[in-house]
Assembly symmetry: C2
Homo-oligomer: 403 residues x 2
Amino acid sequence: MTREKLRIGMFGYGCVGQGLHDVLNSSRGFRADIVRICVKDRNKKRRIPMSNFTFDKNDILNDPSINLVVELIDDADEAFNIVTTAMKKGKNVVTANKVMVAKHFRELVELQAKHKVSLLYEASAGASIPIIRNLEEYYDNELLYSLRGILNGTTNYILTKMYNEGKAYDIALKEAQDLGFAESDPTLDVDGWDAKYKLCIITGHAYGLFLNPDEVFHYGIRKISTFDIQHAKEKGFKIKLVPFVGKTNDNTISGFVLPRFISSDKYLFNVDNEYNGVITEAAFADKQFFSGKGAGGHATGSAVLSDISANSYGYRYEYKKYQQGTVTNYTRDYGIEIYLRYSSEKDRKLFALKDVSEYFSSKLYKYVIGVVNLETLYSLREQLSSMDVFIVNTGRKVSPQTP
Amino acid sequence: MTREKLRIGMFGYGCVGQGLHDVLNSSRGFRADIVRICVKDRNKKRRIPMSNFTFDKNDILNDPSINLVVELIDDADEAFNIVTTAMKKGKNVVTANKVMVAKHFRELVELQAKHKVSLLYEASAGASIPIIRNLEEYYDNELLYSLRGILNGTTNYILTKMYNEGKAYDIALKEAQDLGFAESDPTLDVDGWDAKYKLCIITGHAYGLFLNPDEVFHYGIRKISTFDIQHAKEKGFKIKLVPFVGKTNDNTISGFVLPRFISSDKYLFNVDNEYNGVITEAAFADKQFFSGKGAGGHATGSAVLSDISANSYGYRYEYKKYQQGTVTNYTRDYGIEIYLRYSSEKDRKLFALKDVSEYFSSKLYKYVIGVVNLETLYSLREQLSSMDVFIVNTGRKVSPQTP
């Protein structure tokens, strides 16, 4: 295969952009030039000459000599403008923007086909773990039962600090912010949005279904208390934020984001700090596990670098599972066994728990373990933030609803 | 990308072949027919009609309608005949034969280029773990410091049984044989040959160097004793058979196969029984870990299936690191800290250990921990099987020789 010489226009020059710039300019045998970098802030001091930069996106988008746009900015709406304009002008694009990809997934897939361009976004789903590429290329004909994992480095860092060092949630969050793992507004991470967007992107390649993120239930770690950590420790579990997607029958999947108890014999138990890990279960390959760094500029940069290289070889996602069209439905009629820590019996009733197997009450806190229907959780999604509750998926299989 | 309709000629009908046959004939959206299966034994009872079979390889090799040969036989020499003949006739090939690929690596790479055909062999290196594809496609521009892992399911099963259940080596080996994880002649597995062939194949894609297996030192687990297991347990280690390859400088690598102590905080500690696991360390992606089943028909079958599917999309290995040509040398001038259990001081002297950090002597056994040069180990390779010794890599970095 001949390798195309890349002339790159880059948007954003944060830590990923700077790292990439270093690597691309020093890498032997990699035929890529960064022609121009578009940034927003005219006053920020840059470590390379200002002649490398522009403040006008059209300097890149209208430059016919630029054949690849690398989009690394925070603003999802502006990223969508840039990416779609570039594609319409026949340029290939590499992006790390999970919010943008998840929210406009189907449209972005259609634009690729229409304008015969390639959009790659490995860094948007598992940071350094090559999960999209493996789903697309390696599990393309595997009967995939389920996929779950730790996809958010920030919450995993916070949970690790709380568990290992007994730190309170606020302190651990502050530490993550100081280290640059968490944004000043941590909502996207700690409430599970980030994990959900990644889950939606992964689902597109695992099952060929482009989910509307609004239809997928997510729940984060904001309401976790020392009682919950204490309970987990007593039972030998850690608590991790674990997005899940899996088949409920031949043509239907379910999926959600919930904290989950993880016992010490499980792969995810040792995925700590800012690391991510993904477990796939499939008919032929059985259980497989991938792990790597899930936050930080270099981890994201490694995936972006890999996408740029793939682009130079003409690679594009084939959306093989979507082409096969086997899975056609997403359902929330799905039973999940949860641990519900709560204070008001009125709140507890809202969950309509079935098959209650444990109940505990003390002056400090109460919890119950039982099966909730995902549809019920979804219907409560607006109220959950104002309730004094915390929810953890026990991870135990529920029959007959969970396969 | 258009997908080619595959007409497959298969060699061998063991457990992998039978499983594949099931999957290919039942999979939706997979355009592949198994036209004919060539087997050796005319008298073995088959579970499908005899009209599917032939005993003459030319019925496949000379059939112009067959565009893919899937080679799943044991005999490496006969496999080489079949595979090279098929390639010369313009047919693409998928194989799981690690001995054949490792022994004829460079020739097979050249034949692919000469006859413009594709040879895929993911199943030959890590069973179900897609390590070759990831090295080729995902780490193609990464500065890879090292790769190590558990690549042999048989020895891992034996070591797990010895460690967890206190079984003697002979008993554990017998169990592995009864379960079909080990051949009646276990030499290939227990003496480290299998791990070495896999390491050589992986090195071709990780660093672009086609090593002559005869030049690479390997050592297995045949001489392990309960003393060694006892010692490891006291120190909190497990013993695993771990092939290693890594950079010693910009253009040079070293590599070998040795048992290794693994502490409980390491990924490989929990890779037990027939599972395999691979750890890569790279500049940008940092440490990554892949794990999956390493023995059994289905694990191997999943990799073969993936190669067949990739073939239908026109995929071929680009040998990107070989094209880049950065790494040009393999060296055995490399210091490794080892645990040497021995009985005769004369034997010990042969290892010329430096920097001895521990020495232990009792009536039952003696051991010493010190640094051996890989060249010295290699020069002793013929004698090791007749010495009363066992060698384990401590895994501690040795400076300045190990980076």
